[in-house]
Symmetry: C2
């Protein structure tokens, strides 16, 4: 077993260690590289969002409500609650004849620190559109409206929206419905527990599939990386720097999935303890190693703050960093 870790340093010494499990697979699900336990079963969290958005395109709801690349990017997003994200969510709700009160996602401190500070100062009431998942939830409402299903309870397991999404999750991951662990996500929607390697396989397929819906989602993510996450975040900066060669989507609790379409590979990693500060440096370490082996260096010039994020003390002094250690095992 190969060991990949993110080390948290202080004054030049390692203070804490985060273990990372990684699966890199091809489109057939063959394990190409790994670290830790590539078969680890955990929840996919927001890295599943592109697959939760697929029925929207496949079933004709996106065309019905005139959702273009911007709207599809937001449907796949864990956005930072920036004004553009909130306005687009509202516009999507209007387009499919819904309103914000129908969103089942709860509010949380925004992922953009400046927006979070503004909110903390008061005077702003956090409503569901502020949720980083409001695009996904709006997409679910749009799917329900398109099919004439009730909008009530759309985020719960017994609703046809979730049944439809489950079909796609099973089809792309190759995991049978009975093998999936089903849970409740941070936003109340259904979330999916399955092996990292199966998540990676779904991304390998998403990155290369010639199905029109997959092509449209890829185009949407690469056309509007700023809508998929937000200012300063890795999904946004990586897909801006690597348009056409890297698709990447973060999830909560230390999950990150990516596709490398030019290599026909998919990647999913899990920081075993769930620390979301560590999944960006872990993803970059994995992508660098996989791409380097293929002779395709990752352009990381603009991403160094994600490669080794600095840690500061209460006086603002740099006291250490989060840095990747260890190598993938190539099979």
């Amino acid at each position: 077993m190969s060991l990949l870790t993110i080390e948290s340093t202080r004054s030049g010494f390692v203070e804490s260690v985060h273990r990372v499990s990684v699966a890199v697979t091809d489109m057939e699900g063959k394990l190409v590289a790994s670290a830790g336990e590539p078969g680890l079963v955990t929840f996919w969290r927001s890295s599943a969002k592109p697959f939760q958005a697929l029925p929207l395109v496949m079933d004709g709801a996106a065309d019905r409500w005139s959702f273009g690349t911007r709207e599809l990017a937001l449907a796949c997003a864990s956005h930072s609650s920036e004004p553009g994200h909130r306005e687009l969510a509202e516009a999507m709700l209007r387009a499919c004849g819904c309103e914000e009160g129908q969103l089942a996602c709860g509010p949380h401190p925004p992922l953009n620190p400046a927006v979070a500070e503004e909110v903390a100062r008061g005077g702003v009431k956090l409503t569901p559109k502020w949720s980083n998942c409001s695009g996904k939830h709006t997409g679910m409402l749009a799917l329900a409206r398109h099919h004439g299903w009730p909008t009530e309870g759309y985020s719960r397991l017994d609703h046809p929206v979730q049944e439809r999404i489950l079909q796609e999750v099973c089809r792309w991951t190759g995991v049978a419905r009975g093998e999936l662990r089903l849970g409740v996500d941070g936003c109340t929607a259904v979330c999916f527990g399955l092996p990292l390697a199966a998540m990676a396989t779904a991304y390998a397929r998403l990155g290369t599939s010639q199905e029109p819906a997959a092509r449209r989602l890829r185009e949407a993510l690469w056309a509007h990386p700023a809508l998929v996450a937000g200012t300063g975040r890795l999904c946004t900066e990586l897909m801006t720097a690597c348009r056409g060669t890297v698709l990447a989507k973060v999830g909560a609790e230390g999950v990150y999935s990516a596709a490398l379409p030019t290599l026909g590979l998919g990647v999913t990693l899990k920081v075993e303890d769930g620390d979301g500060r560590c999944s960006p440096p872990a993803l970059l370490a994995v992508l660098r190693q996989v791409l380097a082996r293929a002779g395709q260096p990752l352009p990381v010039e603009g991403l160094t703050h994600h490669v080794e994020p600095v840690l500061r003390n209460t006086r603002g002094e740099v006291i250490g960093s989060l840095r990747a250690a260890g190598e993938l095992r190539f099979h």
Copy 2:
């Protein structure tokens, strides 16, 4: 090697896993029980505070400035920035002829959620007395003033205050000066890297020592647990429930140290990834196992929210918990 973990669950499944290393030793440093790597070298962080406060008592500074049990409790504290904590820090500064501007600790969001919310709403400027370490820093200034040392730079390694503290850290832990890793803590003070087992030994000694300074610190911590941490926090609630039988002091990055004077034992644990949400349930799991073996059950009735803290989603629904799994190995 015995494995102790804190599992983070979602919808009944384990989503993330935190490994915990534990050392339980007697006063001679003999390893009595362990999990993971009891020899793991990491920074002691705020669990070292009682030893940083010892010179204050030993050298006569506490008597000189009329610091009683309340002031000594705050000197050992990682407090929650509640009004009583801040006022006491200010009173201590005045007593030793210092002022707040001389404190080297930086501010941070208060550990009491209600106080933090009040601060976030604005109108309050965070100043050094708000730091959870302001009692420790005031104690360091009081020591400098007592000895006639300059107050400037008191938190840095080349200052006599830190040299004096280092003597005590070495004496109680049994680790030679040259073997200590020295770092910069979150509050700018010197922090100490050493094996968990040596930290545990220092606590075993602190809990049982007949030296007057150790006795006075124990009395202070047990007399005023609310000053050592704050409302709802484990150090406060545990020392309230177990006055005289458990001394406990949390540190940042998943460290927790405790003394069990009636058994002559000391405990230190480190959540290897540094997650501070996991060190309270980990400490309670360790104390329960150690005390149960001695036929002394830990009174945990009022502490169940620390034994297995619940996790909620953005709608406030309980989606899982943090729970301890695994057993200590007794040697």
